[in-house]
Symmetry: C2
Subunit: 216 residues, 2 copies
């Protein structure tokens, strides 16, 4: 039991160390020596848990996805209308991209994944499915127009968010990503919101600023 706990702690330390190294150097630039140094474990311990850099990178991607999916599932389960939930999910993901090393590293690795021959379709498909369900609900709740195609909008939203955080990363090291996410929604909302909301501009700005990122 104690041994198992220690093995688990070592494994977690390796993942956190690997995240720091991948985040800084990318997949191509990272070495297992850097990871064992960052995680403060021996090479032997590292190889006991992970056979290769590729396996380590896949684990960091999985861990990142697990973190964000777990958080989003609890947000979706809360008692909140669907459209504000979608906006909130983007904000929370944005904050994790700024502050959470495993998420930062996982997303960098996801973007670089073709570089190490790993097409990473699962996370995109998961996000599209989550957003599609929320849009369907937002239509029933009369926040989104029924003419908006749920699947098309979900796919576009996920693609658009991916591009927004990526270009923010290239141009500002993600320094402006939260502002860019707000701008994305400010541009998207007028095109999708239900007729009843268009009468009142307050509702729109209220939706965008209802919950500030700082609250979480």
């Amino acid at each position: 039991m104690v041994l198992q706990d220690r093995a688990k702690a070592t494994r977690e330390a390796i993942i956190v160390g690997a995240a720091a190294v991948f985040e800084e150097h990318g997949y191509g630039g990272a070495s297992l020596t850097q990871v064992s140094d960052a995680a403060k474990v021996t090479k032997g311990a590292l190889y006991f848990h992970f056979q290769s850099k590729e396996e380590l990178a896949k684990t960091v991607i999985e861990e990142q996805h697990r973190i964000v999916v777990a958080e989003s599932a609890s947000l979706v389960a809360e008692d909140r209308p669907a459209l504000p939930t979608m906006i909130l999910l983007c904000r929370v993901f944005g904050l994790k991209l700024v502050h959470e090393p495993v998420v930062r590293a996982g997303i960098r690795l996801t973007l670089e994944a073709t570089a190490f021959g790993q097409p990473v379709q699962g996370p995109y498909e998961d996000w599209i499915a989550v957003m599609e369900q929320l849009i369907d609900r937002a239509k029933r709740e009369k926040q989104v127009r029924s003419s908006v195609g749920s699947e098309a909008f979900a796919r576009y939203l996920v693609a658009s968010f991916t591009g927004v955080q990526m270009v923010s990363g290239v141009l500002t090291g993600r320094g402006d990503v939260m502002q860019r996410i707000e701008e994305m929604w400010a541009l998207l909302l007028p095109g999708i919101m239900h007729e009843d909301f268009h009468e009142d501009p307050q509702v729109l700005s209220g939706l965008v600023s209802a919950e500030s990122p700082g609250q979480r």
Copy 2:
């Protein structure tokens, strides 16, 4: 003169060969041996023109950007309102992402660029500047509402397009990228179009389908 022509032809063959190799294997998986094989030149000739894989990758990125910027400059110069020009630029870029090997390779390398330590800001900044000028003109031409922030929309459009083609690449090998670009515009237009256009849904669909990709 003949020698210069031959050197130029060799250089171009290397770039085309490199594009094919980078497109298939990515930066990490590509080797200079593969490039000299694909370009049908000797290793000596390859090293005469390019000192390293990194230099070759940077050249393919530059060449891709040069191709797309040249085409976009001629499109912008044509006598066409600004908003349809923006839509057309996205379509032409999309078609090049499907059909033009140097562009395919250049964009893959741009996305992977952090993997080889090359932050590629220039192309994004160039595109944002082009789109910002077009939005300013589209406002003067009363196609886009004056309340839309030109810089914010230009930055968002470029980021969004980047994400759309990237996610299309991951999920379908870019098989659906042209349809995804149309969906992007169909979702963006209602949020930005000038009041005068909102009365007539024909104008909107007319703008989107005014020039089919097949025409170019």
